[in-house]
Amino acid sequence: MNITELREHLCAQYPDLCPLFSIEFGDGVLTVPSARMVEATSNLKDLGFDLLGMVTAVDFGEEFELVYRVRSREMHVGLFVKTRVPRDEPRIGSVVHLWPSANWQEREVFDLFGIVFEGHPDLRRILLSDDWVGHPLRKDYEDPGLIRRPDYL
């Protein structure tokens, strides 16, 4: 199944998700408002997207963008799911109940970006030590021990 067929299939099954679908650089992208994230991911799981390959986030200043990569083994097609959460209130529903592989991925995003996944069974730091202060992949993170690379290097 290619991207165009996926769009037709998605629109036939879930018409309310159809306007959220777009094609960027040859990849299918579903841009979902954060409030509808739980509903949309649940629909995708029912549609046959049985693998969650990746969860990551991007810091856009005022808000964070969360990126999920899901894939269907039956339809042989992949899809990006994107959603944005505000920086002041970085909260999003967890998808661990749909894809158990999201467990550690969401912990990593929580560890490095400070995004809280509501409904996660065990949300704590995974890469950094438990007593770490701050979230290093945020653009405004300041590390007191950091040594900046000098200009001549």
């Binding site: 890469l127 950094l128 290093p136 950091l146 040594i147 900046r148 690379r149 000098p150």
Partner: protein, 191 residues
């Protein structure tokens, strides 16, 4: 070790005690210098070179450097790889479990200084010498097993120079030649 030091000092002062001390030192050299069992603290790509060093092409067993999985069996910790702030307590804990006398080799640029992670990194310890007393530094990213071999031989040089008496410093010739030894051979022939 205070008791051993006192005995060694008394022997040094006693007439003929130097003979006994030298004999003890010779046995200690032989025992320690040729059985430097290593604790492979491999955390990154340097560990691949460390593993290669144990296998048949380089075969560190012939130096007596056998990798052991248990820190309580080992004499030298080879820190091969990047040490992050999260890993640091584990490294120190393993080091504390090793029995004295113990030595440390910092293998690769990450273990020497942080390497490519020195600048603009929040998570990496800038050199394992901030955690442990390092005896030998081996540069490289990663170093070849030959470099590690050179480091092991230099460490053995250092181990052989130690004495049971803290006031003695020894220079002895071992069974195998060392990088610092003068070349051997018949006069007129290439060494």
């Amino acid at each position: 070790m205070a008791g051993v030091d006192d005995v060694a000092r008394a022997l040094e002062r006693a007439p003929g005690g130097g003979v006994i001390l030298t004999s003890i030192d010779a046995i200690q050299d032989w025992a320690r210098g040729y059985s430097l069992w290593m604790m492979p603290m491999g955390t990154a790509c340097c560990a691949m070179e460390l593993i290669a060093a144990s296998f048949s092409r380089f075969d560190f067993d012939r130096h007596g450097s056998i990798p052991r999985p248990d820190p309580r069996h080992t004499d030298v910790m080879v820190v091969a790889g990047t040490i992050t702030h999260k890993m640091a307590p584990a490294v120190v804990r393993l080091w504390d479990q090793m029995p004295d006398p113990k030595w440390c080799i910092a293998m690769g640029n990450c273990a020497v200084s942080g390497g490519i992670f020195y600048y603009d990194t929040y998570s990496v310890v800038r050199g394992v010498d901030q955690l442990l007393p390092v005896d030998v530094y081996i540069a490289g990213c990663p170093p070849r097993p030959e470099s590690l071999q050179d480091g092991m031989l230099r460490l053995r040089d250092k181990v052989r120079a130690e004495s049971v008496s803290p006031s003695r410093h020894r220079e002895v010739e071992g069974i195998l030649p060392l990088p610092s030894d003068p070349p051997k051979g018949e006069p007129g022939e290439p060494g």
